[in-house]
Structure formats: structure tokens, C-alpha cells
Amino acid sequence: MRTIRQVITVAVKDLRAELRTKEAINASLAFALVILLMFSFAFDPEADTTREISGGLLWIVFAFAGTLILNRSFAREVPNDCLDALIAAPVPGAVLFLGKAIANFVLVLAVELVSLPVFGVFYNVKWTQQFWELMGVMALATWGMTVIGTIFSALTVNIRLREVMLPMLTYPILVPALIGAMRLTAGLVMGKPIGGDDAAWLRMLIGFDVMYTVASLVLVETVLVG
């Protein structure tokens, strides 16, 4: 019970700090909306091909916009040496990681949920047809992205070029999750429920999340302390 309370304490602290400054969420949201707008001019919204690739476009936008939030996760602890105080506190590294991952998940998901209606308008896609399945896929893929982003944010926190290093390290690992999310989202936004071959992508997405969450929880203490 105490562990859950500590996880919530860390998550609430990160969310409160971000909502007061809005430095990451504003940048991420602006980026997502601008890219969606620019892509909508590049592709004909009436063409079937555009709707077929819309899932891919959407996740490219989410991956890039998400990185702007994930970059700030541990970087927020650098001014005033706050990371020292967190590491010194009698809480396991896994608690710090989970609290930060949950806060990042909420922020990235919020940007995605705001971007989704805009995407529907610009690309002439009725994305609400399989609403709950789409929400489930978004939650799974976003959690995968968040877990990888948070652990690498901890790893790169003391590196000078961390803003450059984080995407370079995370994107190659995220490829399977992003491919799965793209395939599933492309079908769902066109009104097709998950089934057949797509079910394998869903299982892969769940497996990805479980595997990397467990690995991150095990490794985070070593990442933070060495």
C-alpha cells in the first residue's frame, strides 16, 4: 500500500510541475498539430491511400511529439540537483520509475487525445467507429513508448546532448511497438474491428509492454546509481 502511495506521490509531483510550467506539453501539442496539418496538405484527404496510411502517419506524429515530453521526464530533476534527493529517499528506484512513467503516460495520452479529433477532420477519417478498441491500442502503444522513453530518459539524464540521444536510443527499440500500433490503428480508423492477423499484432503489443516494463523495473536502480 505504501509503495502505491509513493508511486502516486511521484506521479502527482511530475504532473503538477508540468502543468505549472507547461513547457513540454505545449511544445508537444504544438508539434503534433502542426505536423498533422502539414501532412494533410501533402496527401489528398479524399484518396483511399491516404486513409490506409493514416494509422502510420498518426503514430509517426505521436512518436515524435511523445519524445518531447519524455525528454523532460528526468531532465526536470537536473536543475537544483533534485535527482540526488529522490535517489537519497528511502524508496526503491522502481517506485520512482513507475511514478514518472505514469505521469509521462498521462501527458502523452492527453496530447494524443487532443490530436485525434484534429486528425479525423484533416484526413476525413471517422476514427470513432471502433472507439474503445482504438483507445485500447493507443493505451498499449503509448505505455510501451512511455516505458522505453522513461528508462532511457534516466539513462541519458547526465549526458550533454540528451535531447538528441533519447530519440536515437528509443526509436530503434520502439519499432516493433510502433509497427503493431500502426497496423492496428490503420484498420480501426477505417472501421474494421481487430481480428485475424491483427490479433497477433495486439498480442505482440501486450508482450512488448510486459517485457519492457519488467526489464525497466529490474534495471532502473542500476541505471540511477550504477
Binding site: 505504501r2 502511495r5 509513493q6 506521490t9 511521484v10 509531483k13 503538477r16 510541475a17 505549472r20 510550467t21 536543475p79 537544483n80 540537483d81 533534485c82 540526488d84 534527493a85 529522490l86 535517489i87 537519497a88 529517499a89 528511502p90 524508496v91 526503491p92 536502480e221 546509481v225 550504477g226
Partner: protein, 232 residues
């Protein structure tokens, strides 16, 4: 049992040994002043004792426990070069946050008590980013003392403090020593530190060049240890 025991600790940065076979002990209630020139290894030693990094060789024990042990961490309070409080949160929110992480029974009550003791109760709801430097430093002191640690690790605690913050810190340290707390502090402000110290250790290029009780000669002439045991 020693409050802090450092036994044959080596710490490397790449191939460079920042700490070389350091052996120190501080009994409960002692105030150990770590002195030495810049780059002597004082901060590295304190950070290794605090558990921020592991030694390459040797052992560190806090009341017999490894520094990363949860109980050992609960017993330690650390003030480093940074104030370790969040600019985007208020003073009260910062202290409540740490109170919750340290598992205090009533984080708000403890936070209010320490805001009062450090003279920050009137600005408790103000964001830290709006605080003056002195106020931020007093909040850092409140943060380190909040959970009533038995061992205080202070890295140059008097550096850049204003008069009021120095007075607050010295009063709290004296009260802590009277209550049996153990203090290990690195410092260049020899006069302020030696007034409180019971024990002095001089680090020279990562090695302990002197470790012994703080004598009246040292208090009267803060340069005495450097002149006698240092490299001139």
C-alpha cells in the same frame, strides 16, 4: 557500532582514482569535518557515503547497513551543492513531497514545523522559483532535516549561505549534535566548521592524509591542519 564507517574505499572515474583506500569512522554523535583542496575527493566521498554511486572497492556502512539499504537511507539527510527542491512547487508542497517519500506519519505537520523552524512559514504557499537565494537555502536545510535523520551528510553547507541561513544551519547542527546525531561535512569554511567539529579528516588527492580529533590549535588557526599534514 560506528554511525559511518568507510573501509578501504576506492572510487575511480575512468582510470583516475578519485578516492584511494579511504578509511574513516565516525561514532554516533560525532561531527566529522572533511577538509582538503578542490579536487581532493571530498564531494566524491560524501556522495559515495550517501549511496549516490557505489565504490569501486571497499565498503561503506551506515550504522552497519549498506548505504543503499532502505533503512540506511531513512537515517541519512543530505545537503549537496544544489538545493534539491522543485522551483515549480511551493515550499509546503516540496516538504510534503519529501515527507511522503520518507514515509512520515503526518507529512503536512512535519513540513509546517520545519517551515516555522527555518523562518519560512509566511511564504509556505509561495512557489520556490519566486524565493530569494537565502530563502531557497533555508528550504534546502528544512528538506534535509525534515525526516529527523540520525546521520547528516553536508557538502560545503556554508558556501553561498547568507548570514541568516548560516545562523539557522549552525543552530540546527548544534541542536542535532546535542541530540546525538552524527554529522559528516565537507567544507572550505574552516572556521564555521571547526567550531562544531569533534573530528577532522584531511583529504589529499583522494587519500586520507590526517584523521584525528579536532584540537584547540585547529580551531584557533584553521590553516593548521593544511600546514602540518597537507602539501603546503
Amino acid at each position: 557500532m560506528s554511525a559511518v564507517a568507510v573501509d578501504g574505499v576506492w572510487k575511480y572515474y575512468g582510470d583516475y582514482p578519485a578516492l584511494r583506500d579511504v578509511r574513516l569512522e565516525a561514532p554516533p554523535g560525532a561531527c566529522l569535518a572533511l577538509i582538503g583542496r578542490n579536487g581532493a575527493g571530498k564531494t566524491t566521498l560524501l556522495r559515495t557515503i550517501a549511496g549516490f554511486s557505489r565504490p569501486g572497492r571497499g565498503k561503506i556502512r551506515i550504522f552497519g547497513k549498506e548505504p543503499r539499504d532502505t533503512e540506511a537511507r531513512r537515517m541519512m539527510g543530505f545537503i549537496g551543492h544544489g538545493i534539491s527542491v522543485y522551483d515549480e512547487l511551493s515550499a509546503l508542497e516540496n516538504l510534503k513531497l519529501y515527507g511522503k517519500l520518507y514515509g512520515l506519519a503526518d507529512p503536512k505537520k512535519s513540513a509546517m514545523e520545519w517551515l516555522e523552524r527555518t523562518g519560512l512559514e509566511r511564504v509556505r504557499n509561495g512557489l520556490v522559483r519566486e524565493f530569494s537565494r537565502g530563502m531557497r537555502q533555508r528550504l534546502a536545510v528544512a528538506r534535509a532535516f525534515l525526516h529527523e535523520p540520525s546521520v547528516l551528510l553536508l557538502d560545503e553547507p556554508f558556501t553561498a549561505l547568507d548570514d541568516r541561513a548560516i545562523a539557522v544551519l549552525q543552530r540546527l547542527l548544534r541542536e542535532g549534535l546535542a541530540a546525538g546525531k552524527t554529522i559528516v561535512m565537507s567544507t572550505h569554511q574552516l572556521r564555521e566548521a571547526l567550531e562544531l567539529s569533534t573530528q577532522v579528516a584531511l583529504l589529499v588527492r583522494g587519500k586520507v592524509a590526517f584523521d584525528g580529533p579536532c584540537t584547540p590549535e585547529m580551531v584557533q588557526d584553521p590553516g593548521y591542519v593544511y600546514a602540518r599534514y597537507g602539501e603546503g
